[in-house]
Symmetry: C2
Subunit: 331 residues, 2 copies
């Protein structure tokens, strides 16, 4: 395999000149640039990027840690990250942590060992979390929550939740149930905060019996719907903390003969593609997933370039999308 020395010899020049042709061609005479390119073509020379990165101490790589790549929301954020990374000549190392903190540590080690320049974490975390970004490891939290102890990009989950509940209240719903995420999940905490805030403002007491804990997955939404069906004083509307559980709830209620939205209103969170395809289409909160990825990547690249971004918290606008799954309650 040809090295830069082979190219230098072939071109009758020094390695320094060849190196410069590749990185700062404007500092080399036209004549020699041509010579070098001819030699490169003749020898089919490909620079060893590992050597280059090693010497220049810049990996031009970022790692993206994601709890589960097979989750469309995360996939979209990653897509946004890739767009920005590619445009800046950075590579993206995929870190599917499969929700394991041990795996997360492995990926953080990549930054400590120079394999990557920084890290974007799609797992939300707050100050009290078990694993926080280390000093010296450039880190951005994408799709984060309130009180994130690092640079972060997110939507206003609390405000979005308030908006959803206010919409249901304005339709005339008085008894609004919740299918939440896991209790200690930061997104659950933020969204529940919004829920409590909104019903409190409407003068409704908080009733924990109609807040059922899910885990953001389909089956938990289905099982929650079944639990709601058994209630004598069933809510007339259910606010689900993501679309997947909302879709499950629609299915669950339909199977028990309840019509959405005539008999019960359902709202989601995320605005997955399918949410506008299903029957009935889903009222939900659209998160700008790609944008969040882009912004996160821009932030991290700025940190890597030793700019200090002005804002620590980047809160992007969400969109509350009213579709067919919500309607006034029957009386």
């Amino acid at each position: 395999m040809a090295t830069i020395r082979d190219v230098a010899q072939e071109a009758g020049l020094s390695t320094g000149t060849v190196s410069k042709v590749l990185s700062h061609p404007e500092k080399v005479s036209k004549k020699n640039q041509i010579k070098v390119h001819e030699a490169i073509a003749k020898l089919n020379y490909k620079p060893n990027m590992l050597a280059q990165k090693f010497r220049s101490k810049r990996s031009n790589t970022i790692v993206v840690m994601v709890p589960d790549i097979a989750n469309l929301f995360f996939a979209k954020v990653i897509s946004g990250i890739e767009t920005v990374a590619q445009a800046s000549g950075f590579s993206v190392l995929l870190g599917d942590t499969k929700d394991s903190l041990a795996q997360e540590k492995e990926f953080i080690k990549m930054v400590e060992t120079r394999l990557a320049d920084g890290v974007i974490n799609l797992r939300p975390y707050r100050k009290s979390d078990a694993l926080l970004p280390k000093d010296g490891v450039l880190s951005v939290a994408a799709s984060s929550c309130e009180n994130t102890p690092s640079y972060s990009v997110r939507i206003d989950n609390v405000g979005a939740s308030v908006k959803v509940i206010n919409h249901l209240l304005s339709l005339g719903h008085k008894r609004i149930g919740v299918i939440s995420g896991l209790k200690n999940n930061p997104h659950t905490i933020d969204r529940l905060k919004g829920y409590k805030q909104a019903i409190a403002e409407a003068g409704i007491d908080y009733d924990p019996s109609i807040v059922i804990e899910g885990d953001f997955n389909y089956w938990s939404g289905l099982s929650a719907a079944e639990q709601f069906c058994k209630m004598t004083d069933r809510p007339t509307a259910i606010c689900c903390f993501n679309d997947e559980m909302a879709i499950a709830a629609i299915k669950g209620f339909s199977e028990k003969g309840l019509k959405v939205p005539q008999d019960i209103s359902i709202t989601g969170f995320d605005d997955m593609d399918v949410s506008k395809y299903i029957i009935p289409t889903l009222t939900t909160v659209a998160q700008p997933a790609e944008k969040m990825g882009e912004r996160s990547a821009e932030l991290l690249l700025a940190l890597i370039n030793e700019d200090t971004p002005s804002a620590t918290e980047h809160i992007l606008p969400y969109e509350f999308v009213i579709r067919e799954s919500t309607a006034p309650p029957r009386h």
Copy 2:
């Protein structure tokens, strides 16, 4: 930042010994192993992996090229790849090509320049394709098609398609329409081949007017459904070449007042999660996406380790899942 020489000095040993403690500890005396680890802890030494990779000429990285990461099927394949890669100490560089061959070339360059040891391509390609794996670039095609000119992992698309059509025929359908993918897409070609084969065996003539070209996306499915609605001699069943278009078709027909499956049967391809959630649930072909990823990664890692896998073509079993979206035709 501490180097291996600092550690050696601190421990009162040579760099060679320190290096061995890190890679082949069994060749170093217990006493010195302890000394080295103490020195590492004291100096908070982190080996520079870029130096290590450079010297050892093994990047322990593979790149995964994917036309679109925000496609759940691809995301699942990637998840399988990650599982295997992580278990073998390999990293996954994500290559979202956004369907651009130029981008694909960039990622292939990473292998040529030693940044990665090999490549897995999720874009299907055949011998005649514009961009094929280069000599010297270890390459595996995941989710591929017939006549893939490299190591490949796929299901039997033709056979699966035959199975779908036979199911519709056995229900009594005689006029079966298709919403295909783009005409020159290898998956379209394979699946259409199966369709033609199956109807030919049933003695039905091929009628191109009821084969509508889609592009695997929602909107193309919707528009195809509208076209079918306008036909005077409308098919009683539609075979869609992926789930997304099938879901769109269900929506499209419903909006025109046609009931699925009573008025028209619909089948999909892929078995996305939502396909078992929607109403009606979708009859479709389940591809073992994660398994395909795992197998691809195993294959590539074998190639990197200079084993020569026995088989070039790895055809994994698919599952034909009959759900609610298909029924006998009305007469």
